[in-house]
């Protein structure tokens, strides 16, 4: 009983809290309401830690070969087993997180920035801006996207940076389309007109009044897209583009283990593939959670 009174007092005291405290309270509320989202966030946190601290957390050197320990099944020493060169798969999967996440993050950041910018301009100004941007987006969409990415990497050169550019380019249409549609429905909203009357120039109206309102739907898109970007970058590596062999990367590891699948050493491909799948899954769940966190209408 006392406890409840104290909580009530705390909320009324906090009626004029700092923005940060309010945001944290809201985050706790959303996560408490929704355990699946909480799990997705926890998983995402684990991936982030692996990405940042992977090399220090890894029990073995991911590049150290040892012919005597080749193709050992999972055990208490080698949790995910060892590969054909005797390297510890768990360490390799762990260390690869930063490269796979890094490629996907960079690609998504690029396509988010460029795609949302172009899409928002197209949705706001309409006319020839819209036609130009929509044609660009249609042109990209006209290709089978993965084949387009392969072609881009082949043309630009076989490097990690070019995998990022290719992934960014093929994702561009998603962001353009979402931003364009979301801006379009808002460009004549009353609050936009009110912002003009308050002395905001056109670009300011777009950037400061419309853009923050399209973030929730775009955020969901980013998260869904993140999983697909990871899959795409890993896929390009899987077919031998971008990342070079000794470097640990999920796609390459799946590819390298493929031939051992038949001979019974399933773990060589299975674990990197499973972690890749888990990452994609995590981002898809995260999408809905992020929308709730960011939407002020859900703020209580």
């Amino acid at each position: 009983m006392d406890n409840r009174v104290a909580t009530l007092d705390a909320t009324s005291d906090a009626s004029r809290p700092s923005a940060l405290a309010a945001a944290l309270r809201h985050a706790r509320y959303v996560l408490g309401e929704n355990p699946v989202t909480a799990a997705a966030f926890a998983l995402f946190g684990a991936f982030l830690i692996a990405a940042v601290a992977g090399p220090w957390l890894a029990p073995f050197d991911p590049l150290a070969t040892d012919a005597a320990r080749a193709l050992q099944p999972p055990s208490s020493t080698h949790w995910f087993g060892t590969d054909q060169l005797g390297r510890d798969i768990f360490s390799r999967v762990l260390v690869a997180t930063s490269l796979d996440f890094g490629m996907a993050f960079a690609a998504v950041a690029l396509s988010f920035g460029l795609g949302c910018g172009l899409g928002a301009l197209a949705g706001y100004y309409g006319g020839w801006t819209d036609r130009l941007v929509s044609r660009l987006s249609d042109t990209i969409m006209a290709f089978p996207l993965f084949v387009l990415a392969m072609a881009i990497v082949a043309a630009l050169g076989n490097s990690v940076a070019n995998i990022i550019y290719a992934t960014a380019i093929i994702n561009l249409p998603f962001y353009i389309r979402v931003a364009r549609a979301e801006v379009n429905v808002r460009r004549n909203a009353g609050y936009v007109e009110a912002a003009r009357l308050a002395g905001n120039g056109e670009l300011r109206v777009l950037a400061c009044h419309i853009f923050p309102n399209i973030l929730p739907p775009v955020m969901v898109q980013i998260s869904l897209n993140m999983g697909w970007a990871i899959l795409n970058a890993a896929g390009l590596s899987f077919i031998g583009l971008g990342v070079r062999p000794p470097q640990p990367e999920w796609g390459i590891m799946v590819a390298e283990g493929g031939s051992y699948m038949i001979s019974g050493e399933w773990w060589v491909s299975f674990f990197p593939g499973a972690v890749l799948m888990l990452a994609v899954f995590c981002f898809n769940l995260l999408g809905d959670g992020l929308r709730d966190l960011i939407d002020p209408r859900r703020r209580t």
């Binding site: 009353g190 007109e193 912002a195 009357l197 002395g199 056109e202 703020r299």
Partner: protein, 337 residues
């Protein structure tokens, strides 16, 4: 009229919306894109401190005229003189930085739609003060609180988001935002249409009170004639993009000269005097797309239409002191009243 203290003079303003872009082929063949005449040659004045009502059925171009006057839309032709200066020369896209921007503010029809869902009441009211009056910090906070007090918005609500406010509270935020800059002309586009009936009266009284206290001019758009009678000195009646009658509120309500005005007035329940029975308008208004310039637009619905109305478009003519109407059947000016 009160020409010496004219604040706003709208002169021959038209807004024609092209319907579709017109393909290249059409343009080569010299085919014209159809034009929707939303506002089609409107003239009127608003004096300093005067409140003018604008009435007419929905779709007649009231909101378009409002957007032209608040300078968020460019007129096809015509002049909008504010304090003698023609604002129509400044493109709407650049008007945000014009020196006249603080002088013309607006209260919107839908209080929910007109508040940014990500801004608190305080942000909403502060925005024009910050951008147009260059205020910040303590001075800004004081002006926000002053505006909130003027609309009787409790200070505790300043930290709330629109979804945490009731309709009436949102309406107050919208009004506070519009008056915060102390504009000389306040345009209100059906400010109570989206509110509950019980809240409407409260907000209307607030608006009437603010007008006398702050000495602003009002352009008050409404399709509710009772509201206009309560609040306005003068009334403009609009039909399909044109003003068909204008006059002092008292006289216009007592002695409407245009058949459309008479029909509008007869539709008010419990309309005293007149004893007239309700005039029903038959049929639909003619299309606003490329209307025949040589024909009265009201013909077809007009209970008094005659053959002459099909071949001449009426213009506004004096029919009393400050009272003008556009109908061919009115006796010519100077004739026996």
């Amino acid at each position: 009229m009160t020409a010496s203290s004219t604040l706003l003079a709208v002169e021959g303003v038209r807004k024609l919306f092209p319907l579709g872009r017109g393909g290249v082929l059409d343009r080569l063949r010299g085919r014209r894109v159809p034009l929707l005449h939303a506002v089609d040659g409107v003239d009127f004045r608003i004096g300093a401190g005067e409140s003018v009502g604008l009435v007419g059925e929905s779709g007649c171009g009231k909101s378009t005229l409002v957007r032209l006057i608040t300078r968020t839309l460019d007129p096809t032709e015509g002049a909008i003189r504010f304090d003698g200066e023609d604002l129509a020369r400044i493109p709407a896209r650049q008007f945000a930085s014009a020196p006249q921007r603080p002088g013309i503010q607006m209260v919107f029809q839908d209080p929910t739609d007109s508040l940014n869902p990500r801004h608190t009441s305080r942000d909403a009211i502060a925005e024009p003060l910050r951008r147009l009056a260059g205020l910040s910090g303590r001075a800004l906070a004081e002006r926000v609180e002053e505006a909130a007090a003027q609309v009787q918005l409790p200070e505790a609500l300043l930290g709330r988001y629109p979804h945490q406010l009731s309709g009436g509270q949102k309406a107050r935020v919208g009004i506070a935002r519009a008056i915060a800059l102390r504009p000389r002309l306040l345009v209100l586009d059906e400010p109570t249409a989206a509110l509950d009936v019980s809240v409407q009266a409260v907000i209307l009284h607030l608006l009437a009170d603010l007008k006398t206290r702050l000495g602003m001019s009002y352009l008050f758009v409404s399709h509710d004639l009772d509201v206009v009678r309560l609040l306005c000195d003068r009334v403009l009646v609009m039909y399909l993009g044109r003003i068909v009658e204008e006059g002092p509120a008292g006289e216009l309500f007592a002695l409407p000269r245009h058949p459309y005005t008479r029909a509008l007035l007869s539709a008010i329940p419990g309309q005293a005097g007149a004893g007239a029975q309700r005039i029903r308008l038959e049929g639909d208004p003619v299309s606003p797309v490329d209307p025949d310039p040589k024909r009265c637009r009201f013909l077809g619905r007009c209970p008094e239409g005659e053959a002459a109305c099909a071949s001449a478009s009426p213009v506004l003519l004096e029919c009393g002191p400050g009272h003008r109407a556009a109908c061919l059947r009115l006796p010519p000016p100077g004739g026996a009243g």
